[in-house]
Symmetry: C2
Subunit: 334 residues, 2 copies
DNA sequence: AATTAGCACTCAGCGACACTGAGTGCTAAG
DNA sequence: CTTAGCACTCAGTGTCGCTGAGTGCTAATT
């Protein structure tokens, strides 16, 4: 039904349209690409492609524009991820390697992605539940308040104040700290719930109320609260060419963590690229290219870019994939 | 030179123009405001105002539009800050009171300001140098690395990894921690430099290299690095009416911490409102209304909003002032 | 001296109109 | 199946004239 040439025509249309943001007609198509058939032939092919819903005309007597479905086919079958050049890879590596704290890694990643793709970059912080406890610190602020600090192997540091039901002296705080570290060190936070349950007998009865206050903050608040932390950057790229229409919607989406999370989507297989086109994202005319990144093994979180449906998919996918890999590598090291 | 009525005319022009984003003519001015003179008289006044540079015509045979200079005069002499209603004040208070960590306070403040003013909100984190040390924690990560955690009385928690020149056992880390806390607790970070200098004799010679590594991170890195941390929100408000022109510039400015800092400006007297109009901000057609906020006494940092020159200054100033006050109050409590 | 009525003038915005050219679909021939 | 040829469509552009809001100036009025 769609022979080789028709697919080539679709590919050419997508490529041309992405380049010159204008409807592409049969003539210019034949010229620019090495198709050695006449425009009339192309027109027939285009008629078929249009009938199938891969391309559309903005109005009669205008060239064709790819539809969401057209982009979909292009991404799935007509294009391949464009690998970064050696120079680009080196630039990515050195740029990311200069970061010290986790915050800085994430910040740099956002900037990098935005610059590389000339689009809006979105990066999710490494999930706490996936990472392992490196250290837990308790600092007594006042008799009834302690500061709980959690350090993970992905370099993330989370803190929260715990209000204690009873006064706690330094000694009992120290004891609790020691117990927590002894039991949780190296464990995933997801496993912590089970582990903590078995702690009761190692704690004096008198201290249990305080201990369980700390536990509940550790499990509920810290583990969950920042799960969804997502940052973005490169919004200036929204102002570029034609994006003026859905702009408000996009900006609003960016400021809502929950929406942003949904846009990044859930990973199928880690490190696989996810491409969501147009309506699939819930934002008219907007596509999202995302990937999971990992730190030393398991998937940790996701990152990606958000841009107009009309975007350079192969290049964007290449950039996202490369950045995801290097971020994983950096995080895995520390 | 500018009698009472001419000033009234300017005020009316600003108010009308801000309301109906259209050049305002002599006729509609007389109608809408209770000026009991004829349009012709107003025209004479407008001619003078134009000559003085307070208003301008987009083209001949169009109404007048305020110039930056016109807005300046309006803000300085023709308007007064519009106080928030009791209901609004209550809403602000309860909204901010719900926040626990400093991050959350800042986050909520940004959202609040953006919503209240329907503009882009910008909030600077409390300056470290202004706050006092509540506690310093050292956590040994490996023989050659310790994590330095600084907790301030504004609730801010900063951490950084220190690479040690020599191996350090737990005991020496503990000792260092004790010394640091003993000496710095309750001191301002700005004073810390002096204080630290006197620490040398309390530390064994063998440990001095490690100690000074920690000191330098504490003084240089922590104290300075995040000085300039500024967050913003409400960018969706940029997409609203007519702002489409300078949009790219504004978005770019927002993503550059340094530029953002400059926009917030340096406070004259704390809690005084600063209004910078048009060219004064360095961004064509953009104004900034900012204020310092404090936590229990001294000025801590600044916050404000950024919007089109054509904005409701009295209302915006009222909102900024109110939010600055409540943020200060919240931070002062903790 | 300030205000006002009257009047001529300017010009952005808008609809009407026609022209152009890129692009199409169809048909008939290769 | 491909292609040449041709009639057709229509967005975009430019021209023209009109309208109306708004101005500036002058002369009369207070």
């Amino acid at each position: 039904m769609l022979d080789e040439r028709k697919l080539a025509v679709l590919r050419a249309i997508v490529e041309d349209y992405v380049f010159t943001i204008e409807p592409v007609g049969s003539k210019s198509l034949v010229d620019r690409h090495g198709l050695d058939v006449s425009p009339a032939t192309i027109r027939n092919d285009m008629a078929v492609l249009e009938e199938q819903g891969f391309i559309a005309q903005p109005h009669t007597s205008a060239g064709r524009v790819p539809t969401d479905k057209g982009y979909r086919l292009f991404v799935d079958r007509l294009s391949s991820v464009k690998p970064m050049s050696a120079a680009e890879r080196r630039a990515i590596e050195t740029f990311l390697a200069g970061a010290y704290s986790l915050d800085e890694v994430v910040d740099r990643t956002v900037r990098l992605l935005a610059q590389l793709t000339r689009q809006v970059a979105v990066v999710q912080y490494p999930l706490l539940s996936q990472s392992r406890v490196r250290h837990i610190e308790l600092v007594s602020l006042s008799p009834r308040r302690v500061l709980l600090i959690l350090i993970t192997d992905t370099g993330r540091v989370e803190q929260d104040v715990v209000e204690l039901p009873e006064d706690a002296d330094n000694e009992s705080v120290s004891h609790l700290r020691a117990v927590l570290n002894a039991c949780l060190d190296g464990h995933k936070l997801t496993d912590a719930a089970n582990t903590v349950a078995g702690l009761a007998d190692r704690i004096a009865v008198a201290e249990r109320p305080n201990a369980s206050a700390v536990f509940s903050v550790l499990l509920d608040s810290l583990a969950e609260r920042h799960e969804e932390r997502v940052v973005f950057g490169g919004t200036a790229n929204l102002a570029a060419p034609d994006f003026a229409n859905g702009l408000r919607d996009v900006l609003e989406a960016l400021e809502e963590q929950v929406v942003l999370m949904r846009l990044l989507g859930e990973s199928a297989s880690p490190s696989a690229l996810t491409v969501r086109i147009g309506a699939e994202t819930g934002l008219e005319g907007t596509s999202v290219v995302a990937a999971a990144y990992d730190a030393g093994g398991q998937a940790v979180a996701r990152l990606g870019v958000l841009g107009p449906t009309r975007m350079d998919y192969p290049g964007t996918m290449g950039a996202v994939r490369a950045v995801a890999r290097y971020v994983g590598r950096i995080l895995g090291e520390s």
